[in-house]
C-alpha cells in the first residue's frame, strides 16, 4: 500500500481517507462485498467485527458488532444507498442496541467509497461525513459523546496513587 493519506476537515466534519493497493478493483471491492472478508478488517484487533447480515444492494442492510476484550459487544449497521460494482459504494453507518434497534442518540455517518484502477492497482478513497452536524452537536451537548470521560475514568486510579 502506498500514497496513504487521511485528511480531516473540522469545519465540515469530514474525513477523506485515501490509499493505493496493489490489487485490481474487483479484488479490493470483495473486501467490502464479502462479509467474511469485511469481518477481517472492519474492526481493530482489540474489537474484531462479526457481520451477521450483509445485503449490499441499494436499500439493503448490513449489520455488524464488535466484540471487546471483556466480551462486551458494540453494535452497528449500514444502510446501503448505492452500489456500483466495482467503482463506487455509498452507505450510512450508525450505532445500534444489542437487539439491533437503531440508536438515534448517536451520530450517523455518510460513507462514500470509490475504487479507481491505476497502473495495476487500485486507488481507494473513503469519504466519511457526519450526516447531520447540528444533530451531532446536540448529541455532544447531551453528553452522548464524551471521550474525556472515558480517559478520565482510566486516570482516576493513577491520580489516586499520586
Amino acid at each position: 500500500m502506498s500514497v496513504k493519506s487521511i485528511d480531516k476537515d473540522y469545519d465540515t466534519l469530514t474525513i477523506t481517507a485515501l490509499a493505493e493497493f496493489e490489487a485490481a478493483p474487483e479484488q479490493v471491492w470483495e473486501l467490502w462485498a464479502d462479509p467474511r472478508k469485511l469481518e477481517r478488517w472492519w474492526g481493530p484487533p482489540t474489537h474484531p467485527a462479526t457481520v451477521p447480515q450483509h445485503d449490499l444492494t441499494p436499500g439493503g442492510t448490513v449489520t455488524y458488532f464488535m466484540t471487546g476484550p471483556d466480551g462486551e459487544t458494540y453494535h452497528g449497521w449500514w444502510e446501503v444507498i448505492s452500489v456500483e460494482r466495482p467503482e463506487k459504494l455509498r452507505f450510512r453507518d450508525g450505532f445500534a442496541e444489542e437487539d439491533g434497534t437503531r440508536r438515534d442518540d448517536m451520530p450517523i455517518s455518510d460513507v462514500t467509497v470509490t475504487f479507481a484502477a491505476r497502473d495495476r492497482g487500485t486507488v481507494v478513497e473513503v469519504v466519511t461525513a457526519f450526516a447531520d452536524r447540528e444533530q451531532m452537536e446536540e448529541q455532544i451537548s447531551m453528553g452522548a459523546i464524551d471521550g474525556v470521560a472515558c480517559a478520565m475514568s482510566q486516570m482516576d486510579a493513577i491520580l489516586a496513587d499520586a
Partner: protein
C-alpha cells in the same frame, strides 16, 4: 458512567497509539501537572489564577498546562475574554475529538485492508 458514553470512543478508536500513551504518561508523571489536573477537575480556572498556587513563573505554569493539553487531559475554554483551563471539552473540542477518533479508525482499516490483500496475493511486494 452509562454504557453509551463509553461505547462510542471504544468502538471507533483503535488501541491508543504509542504517542498518545506516551503523552498521557508524560503528562501525569509530574506532580505539579497532577495537581493542576485536580484543580481543573474541581472547577475551571484561568492560567493566572492557577499560577498563583505554585512557586514558579507564569511561563512555567503555562508549559505544564500545554503538556496536559497535548495529552488531551485539559482544554482551554473561552468564557468572555478569559481563557480557562477545564477538564470538560466544549462541543467544538468534542466534535474534533470524535473526528480524530474516526480518522484513526479509518487509518487502521486501510492498513488491515492492505494486509489482507497482501495475504491474498503473496507475490506482490510493497510499492
Amino acid at each position: 458512567m452509562p454504557r453509551r458514553v463509553l461505547s462510542y470512543n471504544q468502538m471507533v478508536v483503535d488501541a491508543l497509539s504509542d504517542e498518545a500513551v506516551n503523552r498521557l504518561f508524560h503528562a501525569l508523571a509530574d506532580s505539579t501537572r497532577r495537581d493542576i489536573l485536580r484543580r481543573a477537575a474541581a472547577g475551571e480556572l484561568s492560567v493566572s489564577r492557577l499560577a498563583e498556587a505554585y512557586p514558579m513563573s507564569f511561563a512555567a505554569v503555562q508549559k505544564h498546562v500545554a503538556v496536559l493539553e497535548a495529552a488531551g487531559l485539559v482544554f482551554k475554554v473561552r468564557r468572555g475574554r478569559e481563557q480557562l483551563v477545564s477538564t470538560a471539552p466544549d462541543a467544538v473540542d468534542q466534535a474534533h475529538r470524535a473526528l480524530d477518533a474516526l480518522a484513526e479508525a479509518w487509518e487502521g482499516r486501510l492498513n488491515r485492508m492492505s494486509d489482507l490483500l497482501r495475504q491474498e496475493t503473496p507475490g506482490n511486494g510493497p510499492r
